[in-house]
Symmetry: C2
Subunit: 228 residues, 2 copies
DNA sequence: TATAACTTGCTGGACAACAAGCAAGTCACA
DNA sequence: TGTGACTTGCTTGTTGTCCAGCAAGTTATA
């Protein structure tokens, strides 16, 4: 019965706890992002991960804990991306506006390449950030990015409020088209996945932010490019 | 038993179908926006509306139909708001940039005053716009607004692509803080509901859009302000 | 006006579907 | 042989949907 019943015993039938754990996290991330927490059952996660109904529960205890593990892994990735972006900006000797242009473009691309992260955070925000609140290092990525921008672009301390708003706008502009493809973009007869649209959009977003920052960067007395 | 059991018989115990229907729609809108479709039961809706568990089903048949009725009512309101905004812009004799500034500010305020609509559409987008797709007049509001902008701001037809992107950016910038209050904004140590923040934000958003549109409005040969 | 026949708004019980969590079982591998 | 990696069966709770019934009107008829 065991041999005949299972249609796809697949090669990774070998037992491998870390591998299964990863597979479950991957599957859960995909499903939670696509359907949301409530609409995703542990059965679904198991099927998507190629394990049985009960395995997600075996590894993560409760559904909420699996969800939090997914969130945590996602946020870790973002944090790391922000840090490496910051390193790159720090190492650059370009003028502030060029650095900003590069940073915004990079962020735009990062978001585009990680739509599941966006959808996950979006759902989390809509649900009031309940799960997120009980996670240790959740919002520091944004803070770090902000500090990097303020420092690297040599913005006058009095302009930090404006820097925060620019940061918010960068997020808003880079996220929107990832989420609203099926509704708003279609409504405006735009194809959210076409390379042409995305190239247009990228240029537009970078331009908007850079224009918005103009006359506000490089206002500090010290010369930029030589930190410390 | 009938007299003693009911703790709050309330004055509107009179039977009134339209009133009950509205109450159910209101309750469902609130709950769907706050918790999402899956996390809201018809029991919840009934309780929130002050009717019994079975009444939402009695009026709307199935849960999905109630949800679509909520969406439809919401979209109707938006459509109407867009139209009246357009009328106002048409009637104005100000220069294009002033009209644009007013329109963006009005949109910002409208979104702020209708967070449930935003959350509802946001969830709908995350779910792939499934329900929305089967509704008749769903995306025309955006189209109408776009046409209004292009026409009123006397944008050269070749700049229509750019106008579309500006429109998208206006939406993105006006929506973001409504959704991401509990997560991103808190992460940046901003208070999403404080009047100070909102006033800052409003000015910032309007400025960004107007700056982005500069050198692009009023490029058509005809003089603006005298349509037809 | 009185009363019976009928409609309509609304309720709450029944039921099937399904999901989460637990526990006992099975199987691979050291 | 034992331990850990899974699976499967079961319990319990929740939810959507259907439906029978009741009460507040409304209309017809005498």
């Amino acid at each position: 019965m065991t041999a005949a019943a299972n249609p796809a015993p697949r090669a990774d039938r070998e037992r491998n706890a870390p591998r299964s754990r990863e597979a479950i996290l991957d599957a859960a991330e995909r499903l939670f992002a696509a359907r949301g927490y409530e609409a995703t059952s542990l059965s679904d996660v198991g099927a998507e991960a190629g394990v049985s109904r009960g395995t997600p529960g075996y590894f993560f205890g409760a559904k909420a804990q699996l969800y939090r593990a997914v969130l945590e892994r996602c946020l870790g990735r973002v944090r790391q991306a922000v840090r490496s972006g910051r390193e790159r900006a720090l190492a650059s000797r370009e003028p502030p506006e060029v650095v900003l242009r590069g940073a915004v473009g990079e962020y735009f691309d990062f978001i585009l390449a990680n739509p599941d992260f966006v959808r996950l955070l979006e759902r989390e925000a809509l649900d009031g950030g309940r799960h997120l609140a009980s996670l240790p290092p959740h919002l520091e990525a944004a803070q770090e990015a902000l500090e990097a921008i303020v420092a690297e672009l040599a913005i006058d301390p009095s302009g930090e409020t404006e820097a925060r708003h620019l940061m918010l706008s960068m997020l808003a502009l880079s996220w929107f088209h990832v989420v609203h493809g099926p509704t708003v973009l279609r409504g405006l007869a735009l194809e959210p996945d076409s390379p042409v649209f995305l190239e247009e959009r990228r240029r537009h977003v970078v331009d908007l932010i850079v224009r918005g920052a103009r006359d506000r960067v490089g206002t500090r007395p010290e010369a930029p490019g030589a930190p410390g």
